[in-house]
């Protein structure tokens, strides 16, 4: 069992994910430079947060053309876990492994703060260790996290139960639109979605930042533990 942490020029949460996978969740993980052209031997890929290529064009737009990306797509096709967090989510939408796009935050400011997430009734492998409807406290840190897609796509996502996490108030209720519970203004309060098959997850919040009690929260840890369990099951 081995996971790849894909490093793009400008990735900056690569070390954080590497640390959590190896030291906290017990998933052996290695860095893979974006210029490599093979992920042979890896059972999962994580696209970390950061600012690939400075996010100078659109977030994730340039990273999508990296030599490693066909291999990430191959893993996704083969049903292996592909997880994109923050900038990683943006890359996954740019390369169409996930639908929609991430627009600039509604208030046009970078936001680094805790949000509350509700675990939606999806069949995501990543949510296997959460209770449906459970409310998690996980931080966001982004400028462009305002999820958008067209009405048909939204219907598909909702009907296919592909919304994995939603921004909610601390009591678990939704507050779509401009409320403080949905700080970036995401459509339908969407914080994380998966592909049809459920092996590709993109999410804006950073579970790796709340996986150790010393950092003030552990709500993110079970996501990585679920990933480990899944990988063990396949091994």
């Amino acid at each position: 069992m081995k996971a790849a942490v894909v490093v793009f020029p400008g990735s900056n949460c690569d070390h954080d994910i590497h640390h959590v996978l190896n030291e906290v969740a017990g998933v052996p993980a290695e860095y893979v430079w974006h210029g490599e052209s093979s992920l042979a031997g890896y059972d999962a890929a994580v696209l970390p947060g950061g600012f690939s290529y400075g996010d100078y064009l659109r977030c994730g737009a340039i990273a999508r053309f990296s030599p490693i990306m066909p291999e990430v797509e191959r893993l996704a096709r083969e049903g292996r876990p592909v997880l994109g967090i923050c900038n990683g989510f943006q890359v996954l939408t740019e390369c169409h492994l996930l639908p929609g796009a991430l627009l600039r935050n509604r208030k046009l400011k970078f936001l680094c703060q805790d949000v509350h997430l509700r675990v939606e009734p999806s069949a995501s492998l990543y949510a296997a260790k959460y209770r449906k409807g459970e409310v998690l406290r996980i931080p966001i840190a982004h400028m462009d996290g305002n999820y958008f897609c067209d009405p048909d796509t939204l219907r598909e996502l909702e009907e296919g139960k592909r919304v994995v996490f939603r921004y909610v108030r601390p009591d678990g209720t939704r507050e779509d639109g401009d409320g403080t519970a949905n700080p970036n203004g995401a459509l339908a309060s969407i914080a994380g979605i998966m592909n049809k098959e459920g092996n590709v997850l993109g999410m804006m919040p950073h579970p790796e930042r709340v996986s150790e009690a010393a950092l003030g929260g552990t709500d993110g840890r079970r996501l990585f533990q679920a990933l480990k369990k899944f990988l063990e099951g396949r091994a």
């Binding site: 020029p9 400008g10 900056n12 949460c13 070390h15 954080d16 640390h19 959590v20 210029g35 947060g49 950061g50 600012f51 290529y53 400075g54 996010d55 100078y56 400011k109 970078f110 936001l111 680094c112 703060q113 931080p139 840190a141 400028m143 950073h206 790796e208 930042r209 150790e212 010393a214 950092l215 003030g216």
Partner: protein, 732 residues
């Protein structure tokens, strides 16, 4: 610049900011007239910004030595040992004038510069602080400046991937036309991985790495050495655009290269670009350098040697390599998509020789430039305003509504929560942040150890205005106290001394007082200064800013299992530890009522040391759960902040006496603590430290009984005013 090689004249020298006697001195030293390029080199190296010609004789008084000091002032950044083979590398730098001209890019490139200072030494940056002084919120352009500066700091730090974990943000009219942006970075390294800015070893190749050189930023260093006027605004195109993405690549490329054996020495091209880096590196090593300016990667065509030498384009470094590593250097920089060009070699003759298009365009001895710059003992005079404001009797104030006064104070943007600011900063990336913005000091874990590193930046401009010496001592004491409140022992300081025009005797007096104040307090705490920055000429149209010696202090926590708790239980008792003279002079309370006069309270350094020992031992013995410094806003504000932290009301009392003085008077030597009372009492007795209960956390009401009418309000009102104040002032 039509002819960079024609002989420089006195008018040229003047237009570069040199004085007539300095020009004469240059001609005498060289025994000839320098050409225009050479004159430009002298001008920047002898500018206040680069040469410290007005400040050096005073800076010598600062303590810079200590058991832990691995590198004191004089390098790109200071280095302090934290044990287990690790060290912290840190420095603070100002970017005041650029930020006033173009707040977003000015602040952003300020962060970029200080990051380079730290990682050029081989340390990966792990945290930033930003200390910001703005003018009155309703002053012209101020909203725009605040917006731009905060967004710019966030832009650079967030993209680079370093958490901005703390800082200061205050608003005083004295900064209406000259805001202060002081940026601090701390990096972590292993001892054996440190690099220095030395060009050792004649014959070693000299490389230029990073971004290409453009015409941007020419004159940056001289601009930082001049008063502000409309004429300076004309030099606007000197503003640079930051490229944090390229800097992040530069960091990763360098850290990768540093693991090989290729580097002899390396330095950031900061102010005065290629000039200062080459002269300083050769100067420190006692060598010389030969540079071929045709090999410098250029972004624009038609650049003159003058422009190449003085450009302040960002994200560049000068690297002295060891022989035989050219292929490694080329491979690593190519991997990261950066330029690395061989532009010269180290020589043994103590000269800087630059060629361009086959001609020698610069031929200067290094010593007179790098080490032998002018040194001034400028005249000083006690400012006359002090006669008016230094009255012996403490200003009195009556209050009809203490609760209302507290709410007004908490709502003022100097006081209110700075969440609006730090929410725009990624303060968690790299997953080390144990305490981020919002408490007395920030605290980061050091992965792979039990240790933690804490940091804070402090200075109270009101205090420094009334008494620069005592005010600076208070800044040092507050910084050390803030660290102790999170369980950290101060181990080193970097400072940023922001003052007005040093050619004004009044400013020079303030400067000397502040430096001597800082020196005496640091000696008492046995904490050395390991790096710092002087920013003079913070004058606009003849008006000087208030003396603002920002103190950034770094502390060490040996065991991260002994740090403040994140939650306080209902019913927890809050105690006041320590004691000290309390006055209204220089207090936020009186300032907001429109009065700024009086004599500062006395700072009792013995009490400070006892209090800090109490806090540190309290955590170590697990007797202490939480501590909060009592400073600006006095006891009432500090208690309100504890209530806000706990999310509970409070019922208690302040010591008897004049109610306003007891609630809002300020002074040193005090902290609020929550913990195991018996153990704390025993510890206080052993240290002979006053410790008394003030009241209990809980409920919705916030109530303090005083010698007169009580202070009464509610937790809800405190929250609304404290959380809403900043946005209200910023109309954001």
């Amino acid at each position: 610049m039509t002819d960079a090689l024609r002989p420089g004249t006195l008018p040229d020298a003047r237009s570069f900011g040199l004085k007539e006697e300095e020009f004469d001195r240059i001609v005498a030293r060289l025994g000839r007239t320098p050409n225009l390029t050479e004159l430009g080199i002298f001008a920047v190296l002898w500018s206040e910004h680069c040469s410290y010609k007005s400040s050096r004789i005073h800076l010598k008084k600062l303590p810079t030595k200590g058991k832990r000091v691995l590198q004191g002032p004089g390098e790109n950044a200071g280095v302090v040992d934290i044990g287990q083979g690790l060290c912290v590398v840190f420095k603070m730098e100002s970017h005041n004038h650029p930020s006033f001209i173009e707040p977003f890019q000015g602040a952003a490139t300020g962060v970029g510069g200080i990051l380079r200072d730290v990682f050029t030494m081989g340390a990966r940056p792990i945290a930033c602080l930003d200390s910001l002084r703005f003018g009155a919120p309703d002053a012209p352009r101020m909203q725009y400046l605040v917006d731009g500066v905060v967004a710019g700091i966030g832009f650079y730090g967030n993209c680079f991937g370093v958490p901005t974990v703390g800082g200061e943000t205050t608003f005083f009219e004295a900064y209406n036309e000259n805001i202060l942006v002081n940026a601090f970075t701390l990096g972590l390294a292993r001892h054996e991985d440190l690099f220095f800015g030395r060009a050792s070893g004649a014959g070693n190749p000299v490389y230029y790495v990073g971004s290409k050189t453009g015409k941007d930023g020419i004159h940056g260093a001289t601009m930082a050495s001049e008063e502000f006027s409309d004429a300076t605004e004309e030099k606007r195109p000197t503003v640079q655009v930051g490229d944090p993405f390229t800097e992040k690549l530069l960091l990763e490329a360098l850290l990768e290269l540093m693991k090989t054996d290729a580097i002899e020495g390396i330095q950031d091209m900061g102010a005065a670009g290629l000039t200062s880096s080459s002269f300083e590196m050769a100067g420190r090593a006692g060598t010389g350098m030969r540079l071929d300016l045709d090999q410098v990667p250029l972004r624009e065509t038609g650049m003159t040697p003058y422009e190449i030498m003085l450009s302040e384009s960002q994200e560049r470094m000068l690297l002295v390599a060891r022989h035989g590593h050219d292929a490694t250097i080329a491979r690593i920089f190519h991997k990261w998509g950066l330029d690395a060009s061989l532009i010269g070699e180290v020589t043994g003759d103590g000269r800087m020789v630059c060629t361009w298009k086959g001609k020698t365009v610069v031929d200067l001895p290094i010593a007179p430039l790098a080490q032998d710059a002018p040194l001034y003992d400028r005249p000083r005079r006690r400012p006359s305003y002090l006669r008016k404001v230094t009255v012996e009797a403490d200003a009195k104030a009556d209050s009809a509504d203490l609760g209302g006064d507290l709410l007004d104070l908490l709502e003022h943007p100097n006081f209110a929560s700075k969440r609006w600011v730090w929410r725009q900063y990624d303060h968690q990336v790299r997953t080390n942040t144990v305490i981020g913005p919002g408490l007395d000091a920030a605290l980061l874990r050091v992965k792979g150890t039990r240790m933690g590193v804490a940091m804070t930046s402090d200075v109270n401009p009101l205090y420094c205005y009334l008494d620069p010496r005592e005010g600076t001592r208070f800044a040092v004491a507050e910084a050390a106290r803030n660290l102790a409140c999170v369980g950290a022992q101060g181990i080193g300081v970097t400072d940023c001394l922001n003052f007005g025009n040093p050619e004004k005797p009044e400013v020079m007096w303030q400067f000397k007082e502040a430096v001597e104040g800082m020196a005496s307090a640091l000696k008492a705490f046995k904490i050395p200064v390991v790096s710092g920055n002087v920013s003079l000429y913070n004058d606009t149209e003849g008006r000087s800013i208030w003396p603002t010696p920002t103190v950034a202090m770094v502390g060490l926590v040996k065991d991260m299992r002994r740090v403040p708790e994140r939650e306080l239980p209902e019913g927890a008792r809050v105690l006041l530890a320590g004691d000290g003279e309390v006055r209204l002079a220089g207090s936020q309370y009186l300032y907001h009522k429109g009065t700024l006069v009086g004599r500062l309270p006395k700072l009792d350094l013995k009490m400070e040391r006892k209090l800090q020992k109490f806090l540190l031992k309290g955590y170590a013995k697990r007797a202490l759960r939480f501590a909060h410094d009592v400073s600006e806003g006095g006891l009432a504000a500090a208690l309100a902040e504890v209530a806000l932290f706990a999310g509970m009301g409070f019922d208690g009392s302040v010591p008897g006496g004049d109610p306003v003085l007891q609630c809002f008077g300020e002074g040193g030597g005090r902290a609020l603590v929550v913990g195991e009372e018996e153990a704390l009492a025993a510890l206080a007795r052993a240290l002979d430290l006053p410790l008394r209960p003030l009241g209990v956390l809980g409920g919705e009401a916030f109530r303090l009984s005083t010698g007169g009418a009580p202070l009464e309000t509610t937790l809800d009102a405190l929250q609304r005013r404290f959380e809403g104040g900043f946005k209200k002032a910023m109309r954001a």
